[in-house]
Amino acid sequence: MTTTTRPTVLLVGYGMVGHRFLEALADAGAADRYRVVVLAEEPRHAYDRVALTSYFSGKTPEDLLLAEDGFAAKHGYEIHLSDPATAIDREARTVTTASGRSIAYDTLVLATGSYPFVPPVDGKDAEGCFVYRTIEDLHAIEAYAAGSRVGAVVGGGLLGLEAAGALKGLGLQTHVVEFAPRLMPVQVDEGGGEALRRTIEEMGVVVHTGIGTTAVTVSPEGAANGMTFTDGSSLDTDLVVFSAGVRPRDQLARDCGLKVGERGGIAVDENCRTSDENVFAIGECALAVDGRVYGLVAPGYEMAGAVAHQLADKAAKPFTGADLSTKLKLLGVDVASFGDAFGTTPGALDVVYSDSRSGIYKKLVVTPEGALLGGILVGDAEAYSSLRPLAGTGTPLPVPAESLVLPAGAGGPVSLGSSALPDEAVVCNCHNVTKGEVRAAVTEHSCGTVPEVKKCTKAGTGCGSCIKLLSTIVSDELEASGIEVDKGLCPCFGQTRAELYEIVRVKRISTHRRLLAEHGRLGGEGCEVCKPTVGSIIASLAPELEASGHVLDGEQAALQDTNDHFLANLQKNGSYSVVPRIPGGEITPEGLIVIGEVARDFGLYTKITGGQRIDLFGATVDQLPLIWTRLVEAGFESGHAYGKSLRTVKSCVGSTWCRYGVQDSVAMAIHLELRYRGLRSPHKLKSAVSGCARECAEARGKDFGIIATSNGWNLYVGGNGGATPRHADLLAQDLDDDQLIKLIDRFLMFYIRTADRLERTSAWLERIEGGLDHVRDVVVHDSLGIADELEALMANHVSDYQDEWAATLADPDRMRRFVSFVNAPGVEDPSIRFTPERGQVKPDLTLLATEADLLAALDPDNSLLLEVR
């Protein structure tokens, strides 16, 4: 290009659609053709508003950001945060901002989204009244909820129910007030609304339908304290969230004379151009040619793509309308509606299955020829991802529609494989990705895994409801193209860890040797991968296999990594560290003194660990039994710092001492640590218990974390520190002690059964099909009918537990390995030496530099050069 000044594209509004526009412009290769300026009202870069509610299940605002680090810089985009546009001068082609900037544009793109509609009732602005749209709204609700008992949501639509789920999660007694006679009136019909109501009520949310809110009552201090309704009734509440629909933010456009719709929305043509040819409008602020304002993200993304393509001088797909399919993301409720859900197409027929006892309602709308038009699924939306793409394709269903709605055992349900879908079927609604594009990602762009396909096509990176279908298509396609996906554990075994677990369990195989002989793909020795893995599986199942649970018994001894083999952690100079268990981090002064004396007497380096206990470093193999004899005598047990097993259950001081504590977190942490100690698992397990929402024990960073509420305990799972930190997700809330333990028992055993080798719960939760929802179904709702079995496995573990160190000390056979040299018992390993540092010791590594260095350091008169034995 020869021009020195590039035309300016000014984007007003940096939300989901605005961001997609910036991405699409870059993808179309046009980012550097323009000077691109962005005005954002919010104080942060664009984030995933669709996933807003996941903030309450542990996602941080940073997690929700849409752009990768450095996105704006990479493409030269100028983004001004917290500086909204206040006026447009179309004549001069400038926009003024709140901070007083004036920016000239050649092309203006409006992506201002919408605002929550608050009905004009008295008291609506009182303290304690909120809307539910931005991260700032959520921060405010969260803070206010901490001092509240009851919360009410005005509006029983999709967002209202999401907000209600969130209030429930914050520990409030929750009410939903809906003006229409049923919940989610836009998406579901009467039958579906009834089933939905039952499910929501079962979750403990009180539902009021068919009444309007007349006022919010306000205390003398100006805070909301209740509501009154059109039927004369009233409700005491501390907090009110308005979620009564959204309205397009078209004020800027109105003020500068752009054409807007009668009921709002900036009118655009099928190229998303407004009545001024230099101004486009996209997303929720736009009124599309079909006379609709779309309150969903997918249509907005299509509009963003259309405008970006025009600016890149590429053929753009006109936007004439979109699909309104939705799936509710609310905790524990399955609701989906798609296509022509209400059967408005002439000649449409319904196939309905309804079971109000269990809150299940399924309706499919079909043509007389049997092609799917749409449907509503409540209580069981399993089939959503495979049915939605078929709706409206005109192809008759491959099986009778009835078989798709009937429950298991009643002749159905039939699940449709990916082959039932034509290539044009849209698999991912959020990003408008077709089955054909997904297949091409596999065949043409050689993506071999679901994460690769997600990255390549963006499919599955929005609401996530299509991931299940996506994985089916990907694996079908891989299979069809003859690509052998090696899921095997290691060269010796073609099976995954989970498959080997099942084989061991069902065939009661108690040795690696036999498993390798009968199920391995390579004969031979095995390897350093399968040996410890199989050792761990056998140890987890030891009571069922009637094998010894001690990791140093029989063949087990030969399978363990060196750490397990010596029940201690190997350090860089060949010495070991010793970590006694200190359950919950609670320790008596006497206990501390014993540890101190042992460390002093054996010259060990001591350090407080990040796990609330004490690590003693620098023991030789010969010293380990001597050290443990003293520790066991004083009542200490192995801390399993060496094992893929339970490490620590950290605690905060809790209600016993802390002025904020609502439960005894220390007692619970100790109880849990003692229950799960010694449990062998695919990777290490960590836990923590906090006494209140301040979370001093950092429970959300743990594989299973527990946070006290005034009603009991909230259980979070899948947290991780380490290299890829992840906050744990809420699995269940307000549990009593027994419920809590039952759920943890099941969760851990389900993880142990299905995880891959060295896969922490965080990675496992992200990998397994269905994710957190599936795990919740299995663990909380017992959808696989295995809860009893999982609990029984844990009960066996608990009764079979023995302290590995005490048992080792008591057995001369196990003790024989603790010598430095098999042919010179009593001779210390000369390579293990220490030098002083900060009043303690550290390994002397100079001796290890070469073999000659070690030999030179040996005293020639020393009895080392001995005639051995």
């Binding site: 350093e528 991968v529 030969a558 010596f566 024989r816």
Partner: protein
């Protein structure tokens, strides 16, 4: 039964008695290690050699007795005897260092993860008690 050792030869314990003594050849002389029954298949022990050096002695799944230097050349630590045994698809038996997991062929001493590294292999034999 005594298996005579040549360069890199190893004893085979299939028909040996549990009390037969494992010996390794170092500096031209046979040094005693331990009774066969002390060595579980798939595991190793460390032995001190008369000159102060250390050997790592293993028994593999075919009941062969191997001895290599105990020093892990990557870290300098004397720990190879504490590694796990494995075999490759073409049947080479190795030990994986317990520290950073490099693998060493027990017959040739070659490092399977870095061709430029090779460690000492000691011949072994079994002497009846």
């Amino acid at each position: 039964m005594t298996t005579v050792a040549t360069e890199t030869a190893f004893a085979v314990a299939t028909e040996a008695a549990a009390t037969d003594r494992i010996e390794v050849l170092a500096e031209g002389a046979w040094a005693p290690v331990c009774d066969l029954e002390r060595l579980a298949p798939g595991r190793g022990v460390a032995a001190l050699l008369p000159d102060g050096r250390q050997a790592a002695v293993f028994r593999d799944h075919l009941d062969r007795i191997h001895a290599i230097a105990n020093r892990d050349p990557f870290t300098g630590a004397y720990v190879l005897s504490r590694g796990l045994l494995g075999s490759t698809a073409d049947g080479r038996v190795y030990v994986a260092s317990p520290l950073l997991k490099q693998r060493f062929d027990l017959v040739t001493g070659e490092c399977l993860d870095d061709e430029s590294v090779r460690i000492v292999v000691h011949p072994t034999r079994l002497s009846p008690a």
